[in-house]
C-alpha cells in the first residue's frame, strides 16, 4: 500500500481535472450569457424545435441538448441546472431529456478519441445516436403519453362539467 502515491494521484488528478473543467465552464457559461444577450441562442434553439416536437419537448430543451453534445454532460449540466432552477421543464420532459443525454452526449469528442486508437466511427457514432433517438421517442410517446392523455381527458371533462354547471 503506497499511501503517498495514492494521495499524489488524487491531488494531481483532481487539480488537472478541475483546471480542465474551469477552462470549459467559464468561457462556456460567459459565452452562453453573451449569446443570450445578443439573441443568438433563441435562433439556434428554434432550429431544433421541429426535432424536439417528436420527443414532446419544448424549445427550452434545445440548449442543454446542444451544449451536452459539444461539451459533454458534465459541462452541459451547468445549463441544465440553470433550466431546472427556473422550473421551465416538467418531470416527464426532464426524464425524456435525461434519457437522450444519458445515452448520447459529447458524441463528437468521444467518437474521435476511439477512432484515434483504431475503432470504427460509423458503428460507434451510429449506434449511439440511433439508440438515443429511439429510446427517447419510445419513452416520450408511449410511456408518458398515457398520463398526459388521462390528464387532458380529465381537464376536458372538468371544462364540460364547468360549462354545464355554468348553464
Amino acid at each position: 500500500m503506497d499511501w503517498s502515491a495514492m494521495f499524489r494521484d488524487m491531488l494531481v488528478g483532481n487539480l488537472d481535472m478541475l483546471t480542465d473543467i474551469a477552462k470549459i465552464i467559464f468561457p462556456l457559461l460567459i459565452g452562453i450569457e453573451l449569446a443570450d444577450e445578443l439573441g443568438i441562442l433563441d435562433k439556434v434553439s428554434q432550429l431544433f424545435t421541429p426535432v424536439l416536437k417528436y420527443f414532446n419537448l419544448p424549445s427550452e430543451a434545445g440548449l442543454p441538448l446542444i451544449v451536452s453534445q459539444i461539451f459533454g454532460i458534465t459541462y452541459g449540466a451547468g445549463v441544465i441546472i440553470r433550466i431546472v432552477d427556473e422550473d421551465k421543464l416538467s418531470t416527464e420532459e426532464l426524464m425524456s431529456l435525461g434519457i437522450f443525454l444519458a445515452i448520447c452526449h459529447a458524441v463528437i469528442e468521444d467518437t474521435l478519441l476511439f477512432i484515434a486508437i483504431g475503432g470504427r466511427g460509423v458503428i460507434m457514432l451510429g449506434t449511439r445516436i440511433l439508440l438515443a433517438i429511439s429510446l427517447t421517442y419510445i419513452y416520450s410517446n408511449y410511456l408518458v403519453s398515457d398520463n398526459i392523455k388521462a390528464n387532458s381527458g380529465l381537464s376536458q371533462t372538468a371544462v364540460k362539467e364547468g360549462v354545464r354547471s355554468y348553464d
Partner: protein, 140 residues
Amino acid sequence: MIDLSNALKRGFKKAFITYLDLIKVIVPVYVLVTFFRHFGIIDYLAGIFSPMMQLFGLSGEAVVVLLTGYFLNLYAAIGAISGLQLGIREITILGTMLGLAHSLIIEGAVMKKMRVNVLTLIILRIVASLAVGIILNLIL
C-alpha cells in the same frame, strides 16, 4: 437594449456558482474512486467478471477496459486499451459499449442535479451497453 458588460458579469457569476456546484459533486466522488483503485477493488472485480467477456467477443483482459470506463472515465479506458493488444473489431465493440455507458458514478452524480431518476438512467445505460455488445459480437 443590449448590455454586453452586464451579460459578461452575469455569465461569470453563473459560471462561478456552477463551478462550485460541480466541484462539490466531482471531488468527493473522484477521491472515493481513487481509493477503490488503490485498494485493488477494481482489479478484484475484473477477475470476477472475466468469463462474461466472451459474450461480447472480447478477451478476458478487456474487462479492465470496460470497468475502467464504467467506473472512471473514457480517458482511463482509452489508456487501458492502449496498454492491451486489441484488434479493430474489439476496439469498435468496446468503443460502442463505453460510448453508451461510461463515468457512471460521476455522470450519475451530475445528472442527479437534473432532478431525474438517476438509478433508472444508469440501469438503462448498462443494459443498452451490454445488449449492444452482444449484438455487435453477432453481426460484426
